[in-house]
């Protein structure tokens, strides 16, 4: 290069104003309260979940104090996790959807639909003829198909996710009522029920399923290209699109994954109750969204955490458990639940912002990206 640029002496960092404060000290030992240290590596994720862990431990203490031995019992811990499994698996799927900046209001209804479709006389007859796996397969296929439709409406129909999944929420419930004729369908197949109610290494099967789904989801979100795309699209859909990511195809996959999780949750629901009914999963969408948001996933997208979601689900499950053990009214439990949602989110915000003054202001002033997810062509 034989270029000559008289301005090159101005390249020193002094002209590079916004950098000066942090560029002068060595990067590994930043001085003052600058934001460099808390933004890197593992500590960040720990810090992000700190509010949740505190809330979780607080509840454990309350449980021990109020219910004593009955709460500390190992079996009780497994009960808490078992009861969290259905909502937990739904919430894990919802975490992916919300991370893209979307929402899925249809999960509760789709759970009802999947439970009904998987327990019709025809499906059960087929299950008797071949294997109970037919019921599992049917539920998962129905869930995934509903998710696929959501994805098509959102990504290709360019309908706002809230509306598209609201429509699915209404329609799926109706379809479930039509198929079941509003009758409760009892599962006669003992193979499936025995399997779901069995234990491996003294740990109930539902806990295993929940744990495996959580681990797979964590890997998917944090360690795969699928997860990277999910976060990128939520963080800035336009930047993701211009970088060459197939945004619409990916959204389709994410909503389908969300539906698949609902289908699997429907199987556990069938196992727990022994029936399929159109009333299964009533208002579960709100429980799922609450767990995801309490867990620290941003509703505007761009940041998702499976660990947070699982903790969120467990907190609500433990709350129910403590109230039940103490023979307290479930209505009071709902009030507490509402309070926990607010407190946990406030704590999240505090720790996510390093506890700096003005953290609360950032909750309200964070502006969403200007371009809609569905905008443009790709």
């Amino acid at each position: 290069m034989t270029q000559d640029h008289p301005t090159s002496e101005t390249q020193d960092p002094v002209t590079d104003l916004p950098e000066t404060a942090e560029a002068v000290p060595p990067p590994e030992q930043p001085v003052g309260g600058q934001d460099a240290p808390r933004r890197r590596g593992l500590p960040t994720s720990v810090v992000r979940n700190l509010g949740l862990v505190i809330a979780f431990l607080l509840l454990v203490v309350i449980g021990v104090v109020s219910a004593g031995d009955r709460f500390v019992d190992g079996g009780n811990a497994l009960t808490i996790i078992s009861q969290a499994a259905v909502i937990g698996i739904i919430s894990i799927g919802t975490t992916f959807v919300i991370t893209t900046g979307g929402i899925d209001l249809s999960v509760g209804s789709v759970l009802g639909l999947a439970s009904v479709w998987a327990t019709t006389l025809a499906t059960q007859a087929m299950a008797d003829q071949y294997h109970w796996i037919v019921i599992v397969f049917t539920a998962c296929a129905v869930g995934a198909a509903c998710g696929l439709v959501n994805g098509i409406l959102v990504a290709y129909g360019r309908i706002v996710a809230f509306i598209a999944t609201l429509a699915m929420m209404v329609a799926a419930r109706g379809l479930a009522e039509i198929i079941s004729n509003k009758q409760t369908q009892i599962v006669e197949n003992n193979g499936l029920l025995d399997f779901l109610r069995s234990s491996v290494l003294k740990i109930p099967m539902v806990v295993w399923v929940f744990a495996i789904v959580a681990v797979l989801a964590w890997i998917l979100l944090n360690r795969t290209t699928f997860g990277r795309r999910t976060v990128a699209i939520g963080g800035n859909p336009e930047a993701a699109r211009l970088a060459g990511i197939r945004v619409r195809e990916h959204l389709l996959a994410v909503y389908t994954l969300g539906g698949l999780c609902v289908g699997l949750a429907a199987v556990l629901m069938i196992g727990r109750t022994g029936v399929g009914t159109s009333t299964h999963g009533y208002m579960y969408e709100l429980d799922a969204i609450a767990a995801v948001v309490v867990g620290g996933t941003l509703l505007i997208g761009g940041r998702g955490t499976i660990v947070g979601t699982v903790l969120g689900v467990l907190i609500f499950s433990m709350l129910l458990n403590i109230f039940t053990l103490n023979n307290l009214s479930l209505s009071a439990q709902l009030v507490t639940k509402g309070a926990i949602i607010v407190i946990a989110v406030l704590l999240q915000q505090r720790f996510a912002n390093g506890g700096r003054p003005g953290w609360w202001r950032q909750i309200f002033t964070r502006t969403p990206t200007p371009t809609p997810v569905q905008g443009g062509t790709s």
Binding site: M1, T7, P18, T224, A239, G244, G376
Partner: protein, 507 residues
């Protein structure tokens, strides 16, 4: 009724944003009863200036005086109390409320918390009559009005606050020519009653019709203030807006004549935006698109990159035709776009540098769908060294970088992905002087390594200095193609203005 004493004086206004200096010494004085036009390219700082004046942003240095007394406009309410009302480009009316409710929004006429609807309706009618629009009913729902009608409502609201200074941000953008005439009549009525108006527009012919004096902004600075409209030529204004603020020293590069064509664009068009665009870029060549804002330059780049669906023409990279409207296919063929709005279109601000830098290539690092972040980090660190991006810490939040360093990350993204064609839209907007020289160097190095480069810039000298071949774009057409050595800034301006005049004649 223009008085000599300024109503408003701004001196040395500075406003920082993280990573950029939006205002860097703005001076402005506005007299009562005048229409003061503020001119400048996109990104020159006009909107930030408005936001400072309307109390939406505070400023970091400098002084604002009203009637000679220093004031602080900490909140929009404070600005309103000081007599400054703003009509934003995106009209801030509430579609579901009536005209009267909109006019007195935030300033409701009420007794004990109950709104006095009749009172408000009467007052609204008086204001509408004063603005020359007695036909608008105070009871009409604002959503049912035309854009011009909504603008009148917005203006009536400003008047209802007894504004002494009215800021109008591109008010004509939503109006047809008849409505513009009416707007100008209203503006003259207002100034005749002693109200000062700050008028912001891209359209020079409007400024000629309505303006009294002009202040020109560039790169967040005032480059000319208080110019009398009658004594300033259009050419002078364009030169002030687009001209050099510093010398561009960039050694002329030799492009091997026998280099192969990499990018071939033939008869490219998008309905309503541009048409008939022909463009050939050889390996190692830099082609510059010069022209004014709105000429269609960015849209041409976006269409080549597949981000817009073309309605005619072909785009070929290394002999392979690209399908219309597919960014992934263009990226796979080696076309990279560094978009104009870096923050909203290019970067994921909450993610670290390495995830931004590998946004187009992370799948290439992965094995069987599993990310290999250590490899991404290592590659990012290497790229950061190439790009002279210090400190070379791939985990640093991209939000904390300066504009110049963010732009380097964008360049690094396409370097890492490996690109044959690099499309740069305003590559030095919001970039400091020192970093600009580095970015010019990087662009030169990329070209030397055989990349075909297309540069768009609003600064004509920058295009002329960087590019080997210059295309002048005006009104969605290419009006000139030729070597950069055979054209100068004046010739470009002539071409731009001639075709604008031609287009005016056709209307």
């Amino acid at each position: 009724m223009v008085t000599a004493d300024p109503f408003l004086t701004m001196h040395g206004i500075v406003k920082h944003f993280p990573g950029a200096k939006a205002l860097d010494g703005v001076d402005l004085d506005v007299r009562a009863g005048e229409v003061h036009c503020v001119l400048g390219q996109n990104g020159a700082g006009k909107s930030t200036l408005i936001k400072v004046l309307s109390g939406a942003h505070g400023h970091d240095a400098g002084a604002i005086r009203i009637d000679g007394e220093e004031v602080t406009l900490a909140t929009p309410a404070a600005a309103l109390r000081a007599g400054i009302a703003t009509m934003y480009q995106e009209l801030d009316v509430v579609a579901g409320l009536t005209v009267a409710e909109n006019i007195f929004l935030g300033n409701e006429r009420s007794v004990a918390g109950l709104t006095r609807r009749q009172d408000a309706a009467h007052a609204a009618r008086d204001l509408l009559v004063r603005l020359g629009h007695p036909e608008i009913s105070p009871h009409a729902e604002v959503g049912t009005l035309s854009a011009a009608g909504q603008q009148v409502v917005s203006m009536a609201r400003a008047l209802s606050r007894d504004a002494r200074l009215l800021i109008m941000d591109e008010p004509s953008a939503v109006l047809d020519s008849e409505e513009v005439d009416n707007l100008f009549r209203v503006v003259r009525d207002l100034t005749a009653s002693g109200i000062a108006v700050i008028y912001i527009s891209h359209r020079l012919e409007e400024i000629r019709r309505i303006g009294d004096r002009i202040t020109v902004l560039k790169d967040g600075r005032t480059v000319a203030s208080g110019l009398e409209v009658a004594q300033t030529s259009t050419r002078e204004l364009i030169t002030l807006m687009t001209g050099r603020t510093r010398e561009y020293a960039f050694a002329r590069r030799e492009v091997p004549a026998e280099a192969q064509d990499v990018l071939q664009v033939v008869d490219l068009a998008v309905d309503g935006l541009f048409s008939g665009v022909d463009l050939t870029v050889r390996a190692g060549q830099i082609v510059g698109l010069a022209g004014l804002v709105g000429a269609g330059r960015s849209e041409i780049l976006e269409t080549i990159a597949g981000a817009r669906r073309r309605t005619a023409g072909t785009v070929t990279v290394d002999g392979v035709a690209l399908p219309p409207g597919s960014v992934p296919r263009a990226v796979a063929a080696g076309v990279g776009l560094c978009p104009e709005e870096r923050k909203s279109q290019g970067l994921i601000l909450d993610e670290p540098i390495f995830k931004n830098l590998t946004l187009s290539s992370f799948a290439g690092f992965a094995r069987g769908g599993f990310l290999r972040e250590h490899a991404e980090r290592a590659a990012t660190a290497t790229q950061m060294q190439n790009l002279q991006l210090r400190p070379a810490d791939p985990d640093r939040a991209i939000r904390t970088l300066s504009g110049g360093n963010q732009q380097k990350v964008m360049l690094g993204r396409w370097l890492e992905h490996g690109c044959r064609v690099l499309l740069l839209d305003e590559p030095t907007r919001g970039v400091d002087v020192g970093a600009r020289a580095e970015i010019y160097d990087l662009i030169g190095q990329l070209a030397d390594s055989g990349t075909a480069i297309v540069v768009v810039s609003s600064e004509i000298p920058e295009v002329l200095a960087l590019a080997d071949t210059v295309l002048v774009v005006a009104e969605g057409r290419i009006v000139h193609t030729g070597p950069a050595t055979e054209i100068d800034e004046h010739r470009v301006l002539d071409l731009v203005m001639d075709s604008d005049a031609l287009a005016e004649g056709h209307r």
